[in-house]
Every structure is written in C-alpha cells, then in structure tokens.
Symmetry: C2
Subunit: 176 residues, 2 copies
Amino acid sequence: METKRKKPSGPSRGREAGLTDLEGAALAVIARRGRVTRYALMQAFAGSPSGFWSGSAGAVYPMIRRLLAARMLNAHAASDGRRKRVDYDMTAKGRAAFEAWLLDAGRAADMGMDPLRTRLISLDLLPAARRKTFLNEVAAEIARIAASPAFEDDRAARAVHESWLAARMAWIRTLG
Amino acid sequence: METKRKKPSGPSRGREAGLTDLEGAALAVIARRGRVTRYALMQAFAGSPSGFWSGSAGAVYPMIRRLLAARMLNAHAASDGRRKRVDYDMTAKGRAAFEAWLLDAGRAADMGMDPLRTRLISLDLLPAARRKTFLNEVAAEIARIAASPAFEDDRAARAVHESWLAARMAWIRTLG
DNA sequence: GGATGCATGTAAAATGTTACATGATTTA
DNA sequence: TAAATCATGTAACATTTTACATGCATCC
C-alpha cells in the first residue's frame, strides 16, 4: 500500500516526504555502479535519452550534499594513483530510501510530465491535415531516438528504453 | 522542422525560447474555452489526472502575469451581475505562440518525466518476486485512475486520456 | 602547446511548491 | 448562520537551469 504523497518542493520535506525523482534516479545509478563520483553522476544524467533533466553540476552537486546530510551516502576520498577524487556510495539508510522510492506504485502510476500527451489533448483544435503531419513528425523523431545508441553499458535499462519507444510508437499508431 | 530547444528556466528565456509546458497547457485551456478566470485555470490544472502540476495559485497567477507582459493575453474586466472577476483570452501573438508550442514535434517526442520508466530502469536490481508484485500494484493503480472520471466536459481530451491509459496498460503487460 | 576529458564547484535567475490570507457570494 | 465555492493574491522556501570558473591529466 503506497502512500499518495505530495510533490517535493517548498518548505515541506523534512526528509520524511521521501526522495525526489532526481534523488531516486541518482541513487539508482549508485545502486548499479557502486561508488561513483559526482561527475560520473552528471554524465549519467546528461547522457540520458530523456531531456527532462539537464544533468547540470548546479543540480547534482547540491543534491549529493543533501543526500550526504541525510546520511544516505558515504563519501570516500579516492585516487587512481595520479588524480584525486571523491567517490560516493549508499548507506543502509540510503538503500532503504531508494527501495521505498523505487517501489512506490502510487507515484509510479502517475502520468508525470508527458510532452506528447500534453499536446495531444489539444490537437483536436487544429485541422486534420496538420494533426496528421504532426503525428508523422513525432513518429519520425521517435524513430530517430530509437536509432541512436542509449544505455550501451546497461542491458536492463536498454531493454526498458526500447520497450518504452516501441510502446509509444504503438500508441501513436492507434491515434492515426 | 522543429528546433531542439533548451529547457526553460535560468536566465535564458527572453521569450524567444518559446513557451514552457505549463504556459502551453494554460493557453490550451484558453484556446478551448475562450475567456477564463485564473481561478478556472487553477481548477483545470488541479483537476487534471496528472499529478505533475499542483495547479496552485502561486504557479498560475505569476504565469498569467508573464503571458500578459509578453502580450500573449488580454485581460477583460467582467461581471456576472453580482460578482466581479477578470477574464483572460489570447491575443494573435498568444495564439501563434500556442500553435508553435503545440506543433513542436521535437519537444513532443521527448520522453519527458515518466515516473514508471524512471523506476523500471532500475527494477532489475530487485528479485523477480518483488518486481512482479510491483508491476501488479502499478497496474492496479492505473486501473483505479482509469475508473475515475476525467475530462468529463471534453470528449477529445477524454479520448486521449483513455488511450494513454490503455497504451500504458498494454506496455506493462509486455513487461510481465 | 592546445584541445579534450575528468573533476569540482558557485552565482544569478526562473519557476514552482506549500502555506497563508482575504473577501464576496451561494448553498445547506 | 455555517460551510463551501469563486476569486484574488502574497510569502518563504526548494529545486533546478544556465552560465561561469578553476585546475589537473592526457592525448594529439
């Protein structure tokens, strides 16, 4: 039974509100890879096929600071012999928060922010010819995304990615 | 040919960057209904089956101020005989910006923020039994959403909504 | 020697959230 | 007359974006 929780932001979150989706996704990267630098985390977000998060330093560095303050991460001074760096990994508390975030079916079932759905709701305001052109363009864009490599080092993520694209293509076809 | 544009936010946006998705969705409501109050706009967002936007006054009132300043809206003092109010409708510039937003296939094809996809990418980290339970819970949640009324006054939007839910259910079934 | 990649950060600005507040009107 | 709805707003705060900045190491 998942709690229907409010959006993160505002004065809320004394940490009892659960992880934000960015935090959850960051912990997911750490859960898979083990110790990572913040830079590697940035790269992971920046390389994502979704354009929703920029993966900017301005988002990632403060977020790690938050998770560290909440004792969900440990920092480890590290070095590859020459260059120094700081690696982060999860504490038991971090792992628990991650799993609670991951398995929150209430949040998972939400429609989130879907740029196509948001537009389709209004598409009937335009003439049929333009609707058709638009859907063709979107399908072509998605085909382009499907043709470009993603998650090459992660079979499971790639499978989800590809099935998402296939499902979306199938949806668009039903709208034609 | 749609321009791949950057995210709105930060110092960017001198208005040449296009509408945010919240602005686009607000103009969509106005495009459909004609003149609306900001309160009605709030209600429209708050009543949306997507939990992504809260439809708070703190988001809507400043947003309308922005669109007004950008000369995309006109304000009309109005009254139903007793209570006074202010209605807003689109200018030609607003309509043009709305259509550019609506028909931006590049943005429409983006994966946006999908709370289920975000989680599925990590689901292989858990044992199969928990994966299965989770997918069943999500399917049940989506069925609940599908069973609750939405867009009762808007056939086109309801059709999109229902087809979205059906497509998502179909996707989940392929993951089982 | 210059470009590129790894790594770390900060600053200003935009946008949104929660929460609070007010007042008029309508309904129970 | 009390509660709900319509309608308008503000304040404090959190998150994130863009943009800038630094320094070391490696590759060409």
